[in-house]
């Protein structure tokens, strides 16, 4: 059970991605007591799953590490992983919150020696790599995980497999008796920073995602390119693990489309441009074709676009691809569409296709939670009529890390104002 003492002067932050971490730290550094609740076994959110950051193409860990250090040094922030908010009641300045903790089966004594992984024989789909590979059911979520601590999958907790892990652990770090627990908090304001989920590309059935092996999504591409990913940093065709000779990117896959996500997710053009640099660095002979409606690279990010355009192995074709058909023998993919600049029909073959899918905001889905406002697409609005709960980052609009961080700072200030108003 968590011993957390909070008052109506405290702030709750939900979601431990870049937005939530920023909001928590900004409020704590302004002197407020903050509780951060994250449902994954680690902090950092989706950013931890990226290989590199645009536009500088640096690894995301540096930025995260700085924030984790700020967190460790600041006693005013308490954070909980594998935690979710189960209930919120009350109003601005006076909320009662119930937090639910899922069992991790590993306590703070874990030294990350890895012995439990060695003995464990059960494997589960690896959520960190979007199910592209398997991991042992006793695992470290990823190599830079914060907190650096193993997890046991609930599926082995009550089994002999769990027992094996318990027996091998020399540090008394495994506790198979752990159960779901919950605790209550009092807070004056809430920052909702639960981020986004990748759009489910299988919904656009004429692109064949889920059916055609060599059609992947942009978030999968990030994992493939990462040395810690399922292919150890090699971008390979899932069907035969061969190096692709030509790759297509389909922009707005399910985005700007009344049938799916009507809005522009703002970052997927940049993500594909970034992925193009991953591919081109790895395979100097690989051709890349980017099919787009229009490329959205705003402000200084346009320089990055210009740079990628200079690569003669990269071709940009103005067209929203209308259909993909798979050659069942070779795993090759036939793309159909219309080149809207020339009016010519497109019939082109590729080894591999990357769908540039968008972001779907994680709304507040808690029974009987106080009312908040959303726009027509499900993004949280900081409604001046409904103060006390504020969105921060990608729950408010699909955007990059820099803008999320700015927005989270604004969210922290609003939360502080809610407390000051009382």
């Amino acid at each position: 059970m968590a011993d957390v003492q909070t008052t109506n002067q405290s702030i709750l932050v939900v979601g431990g991605g870049m937005s939530g971490i920023t909001a928590a730290l900004e409020a704590a550094e302004a002197g407020y007591e903050v509780v951060l609740v994250e449902k994954n076994p680690y902090l950092g959110g989706r950013v931890t799953q990226l290989y590199q950051y645009f536009p500088k193409l640096c690894p995301p860990n540096c930025g995260l590490e700085i924030n984790f250090r700020r967190m460790r040094q600041n006693p005013k922030v308490r954070f909980f992983t594998m935690a979710e908010v189960a209930g919120i009641s009350g109003q601005e300045g006076d909320y009662d919150v119930t937090v639910k903790l899922s069992p991790r089966y590993v306590n703070e004594k874990c030294t990350c020696c890895g012995k439990c992984t060695e003995v464990c024989e059960v494997e589960i789909d690896n959520p960190f790599n979007y199910g592209m590979d398997k991991i042992k059911a006793a695992y470290l979520p990823h190599e830079f995980a914060f907190p650096m601590r193993y997890v046991l999958d609930p599926s082995i907790a009550g089994t002999d497999e769990g027992k094996k892990c318990l027996d091998v652990c020399e540090y008394g770090a495994i506790d198979l008796e752990m159960e779901e627990t919950s605790f209550d908090l009092k807070v004056g304001a809430i920052v909702w920073a639960a981020g986004w989920d990748p759009f489910d590309a299988a919904k656009v059935d004429y692109y064949g995602f889920g059916e055609y092996k060599n059609v992947i999504t942009n978030v999968m591409m990030e994992r493939m390119a990462a040395p810690s990913g399922p292919t150890e940093g090699k971008i390979l065709r899932p069907s035969d693990k061969k190096e692709p000779k030509n790759i297509a990117f389909i922009q707005c896959a399910g985005s700007r489309d009344e049938n799916y996500l009507p809005y522009c997710s703002g970052i997927c053009c940049l993500a594909s441009l970034k992925h193009t640099t991953y591919v081109r660095e790895l395979y100097p002979d690989c051709d890349v074709t980017i099919f787009f409606i229009d490329i959205r690279a705003l402000d200084r990010l346009e320089d990055f676009y210009t740079k990628v355009q200079e690569d003669e192995k990269v071709v940009f074709i103005k067209s929203k691809i209308a259909n993909i058909t798979e050659d069942e023998e070779t795993g090759g993919l036939l793309l159909e569409g219309e080149n809207t600049r020339t009016g010519e029909q497109i019939l082109m073959n590729f080894d591999m296709v990357v769908l540039a899918t968008g972001m779907v905001p994680n709304k507040i889905e808690i029974d009987a939670a106080p009312d908040v406002s959303y726009d027509e697409y499900g993004f949280l609005i900081n409604d001046p009529e409904k103060t006390g709960i504020y969105g921060a980052g990608c729950v408010r609009r699909p955007t990059d890390v820099a803008s999320s961080v700015q927005d989270a700072t604004a969210g922290a200030l609003k939360a502080i104002q809610s407390i000051a108003r009382r």
Partner: protein, 196 residues
């Protein structure tokens, strides 16, 4: 398609005002999905997106005398896929109807083509691209052709609703979801959507 044109809004205004569903094309974002997925695109002089582009460019003659607007066989592919929810097919029918009213007479082969398309769908459940052009030259006059076409459309729709007809020529439909969506939309639009 001609790319360099002087912008002339007068024809576009005429279409928005006088053509059934004509104002829907204001929402078109020029993505090319309709033109890239229309099963008749190879037989069309201008696939749907290009028709809309020509309207914006003021090319009245090219649009109203085009083969494309007469060829549309109401397969719903473009309606289901258009990211802007434009009833592309209705606009094509609206334009065909308007062209007829304005005294444009479609070439005989065009009308026959439409009829034969549905004939084949009815009989074979798919389109035989090689056989189609040969048969097009048989059928009777234009009015007959249009009538027959509409009749066949009704049958086609009923078949669709009973899910016995494979709609997209020679290409397998991926998942039933798209088909179901098409059927839902077809049901919603009913025959009203077809009779321009």
């Amino acid at each position: 398609m001609e790319n360099m044109v002087n912008y002339n809004p007068s024809f576009a205004e005429e279409v928005f005002r006088d053509v059934d569903s004509g104002d829907e094309i204001k929402m078109c974002m020029n993505c090319g999905v309709c033109a890239g997925s229309c099963p008749l695109r190879e037989h069309m002089d201008y696939p749907p997106r290009q028709i809309f582009g020509l309207i914006r460019a003021g090319k009245r003659e090219a649009v109203l005398s085009s083969k494309a607007i007469m060829l549309c066989t109401s397969c719903y592919t473009c309606v289901v896929k258009c990211p802007r929810d434009i009833p592309v097919m209705d606009v094509m029918h609206g334009l065909a109807h308007y062209a007829l009213k304005q005294g444009y007479v479609p070439r005989k082969d065009t009308a026959n083509f439409g009829k034969e398309f549905w004939n084949q769908v009815y009989k074979l459940g798919r389109i035989d691209e090689k056989d189609l052009p040969r048969r097009v030259f048989f059928a009777g006059g234009f009015v007959e052709g249009i009538k027959a076409m509409l009749n066949f459309m009704d049958i086609g729709l009923k078949l669709m609703l009973h899910r016995r007809m494979k709609l997209l020529p020679e290409r397998k439909i991926k998942g039933v979801k798209l088909l179901q969506k098409m059927l839902d939309k077809a049901e919603g639009l009913g025959k009203g959507g077809i009779a321009a």
